[in-house]
Amino acid sequence: MSSKQSAGSTQQGISQQPPAASGQDKRQATSDNLLSTNLFGIKMNSPLMSASGTYGYGKEFANFYNLSMLGAIVVKGITMKPRAGNSGQRLVETPAGLINSIGLENPGVEGFLVQEMPFLRESGVPVIVNISGNTPEEYAALAERLDGEAGIHALEVNISCPNVKQGGMAFGASCDMAAAVTADVRKRTRLPIIVKLSPNVTDIASIARAVEAEGADGISLINTLLGMGIDIRNKKPYLDNTFGGLSGPAVKPVALRMVWQVAGAVNIPIVGMGGISTWQDAVEFYLAGASAIAIGTANFFNPLAVPEIIEGVKAYLHSEGMQHIGELVGAARPK
């Protein structure tokens, strides 16, 4: 269990949930509280979030469903200065997957606060801001800038973007760098910090332990897997940057394995993601030890992925006779 003030571990969060009122119909009694969770000190309607970069800043999906069913909206990655993103073709479809090379296109932190935060505040859904920098100092400065901004509940520290030349994934590739960024960010914000790890490493558990030791409140994983595609007609890589980040159902087994490994290595909550497209996928991640999950690429091909997964998870919990989703977290792990 975490020693950090701001980090309510799942177990803590669950114990805070009132038990279902006895004597009532169980389905009825549990439906309100079945998914509500307290995580990172944030009261969430469900332990289910949007994955950064697949959800914009939320407003497009308000066209399809009530956003309040989400535990948090994790917004598209923000940098200090606006970024135009990468040149050339940015997407390559692969079997059950998608390689992207967006390159952190975003309006910069000031643009984000002015253009996007009013809608997000209005929505009432907790906001987690994904931040990226070229240097540890830039991450820390961003964290400081966002500290105290109304409506922002936590930061996701992106040390795993494969699509930028400086920083990005490099910070997530070594324990020392990951620890340094986490420590610098920790000093400059009171917001809970969730460090987003790269799967493109040999020992993810050691990196998870390194960021936990520097005061991370949680860990999210996985970011995309480094991949590439070659156009066989013009005999060149599709992407100007040659490599991009692979996501989608194809990466799910890898993501699940890494969530499992990290869950066995740290005591802070884990936000699991990577190819989750159905409620069955979601259940697997909870069982592996994720306190919350995030939906990413599925939002692109199924705009209703979030409500469908939430409904499916609820039905599963009912069918298993469970009172709260917390009972699921880590339930597949050896006792």
């Binding site: 697949t54 940015r90 998608l98």
Partner: protein, 263 residues
């Protein structure tokens, strides 16, 4: 951006017919999309419910029938997605999201209009032609293809009252040559107050140059690799015109003024 108007339907397939040797037109019952759609907009289609293929496929609206509540898509069989779509039969369901993107700009008291369509790029022009003809404008459409067999919608556009000129690489229909040859000759003889083009990017770049020579305003309907179609994935970019940065085909487009983009 305006939201709150997209429909996500499992639409009934009304018809799915061959138009030419590798092009079909699928008609879908989707009253919600038909009611609000305008020429130039597109839909993003999930051709099946599996992960093969994973992503939706964007298609221009080729017919918008508000009375019948149907929309049609004209598509060339080019890969996995379109080949699966070609197998759909009347009564099957197709997952369709739309209407997406912006529309062609129409000037009501405009003079003559000219369309330039490269291959399957003719798709968005039928509903635009109907609209302009209803406004009393004269419409000429220059269609380019490799050969006669690859020309689509020739009779349909003529039946509407469009003056159709063809350019084929082998001369089997219309003039032997490129659409830009026909366009240049047409603009020399006829004053056009608006041009619209859709087709491969190299063709669009050439059309842009010809229209610039004749000071004819030009709107382009762009294509791009696309995942979401609603402005969140940021994958469907095209370079901006003179300035730095990118436009997003699904969100700011798919229709752009020629000056807005660098092809």
């Amino acid at each position: 951006m305006v939201t709150g108007k997209w429909e996500l339907n499992k639409a009934n397939v009304v018809a799915n017919e061959w138009v030419s040797r590798d092009v079909k037109r699928i008609t879908l019952l989707s009253p919600g999309i038909a009611a609000t759609a305008s020429p130039g907009q597109f839909v993003n289609v999930k051709v099946n419910s599996t992960y093969a293929p994973l992503l939706r496929r964007p298609f221009s609206l080729n017919r918008i029938d508000k009375d019948k509540g149907t929309i049609s898509l004209l598509y060339k069989l080019v890969g996995e997605g379109t080949e699966l779509m070609a197998e759909l039969e009347t009564g099957d369901l197709l997952d369709v999201l739309g209407p997406l993107g912006n529309t062609f700009s129409i000037e009501e008291d405009c003079g003559d209009s000219i369309f330039v369509a490269g291959g399957i790029g003719v798709a968005p022009f039928y509903p635009l032609a109907r609209l302009l003809l209803q406004l009393g404008q004269k419409v000429t459409c220059i269609m380019g293809a490799r050969c006669r067999e690859d020309i689509n919608e020739l009779d349909e556009l003529r039946a509407l009252g469009v003056n159709v000129l063809c350019a084929t690489e082998d001369g089997s229909e219309g003039m032997r040559g490129l659409v830009t040859d026909v366009l240049r000759a047409h603009l020399r003889s006829t004053k056009c107050s608006m041009a619209y083009a859709c087709g491969p990017n190299p063709m669009l770049a050439a059309v842009k140059a010809v229209c610039a020579e004749h000071q004819t305003p030009l709107q382009l309907s762009l294509e791009s690799h696309m995942a979401c179609g609603i402005g969140v994935c940021l994958g469907c970019t095209c370079k901006k015109g003179p300035e730095e940065g990118y436009v997003h085909v699904c969100k700011e487009g798919p229709i752009f003024w020629a000056e807005e983009v660098a092809l």
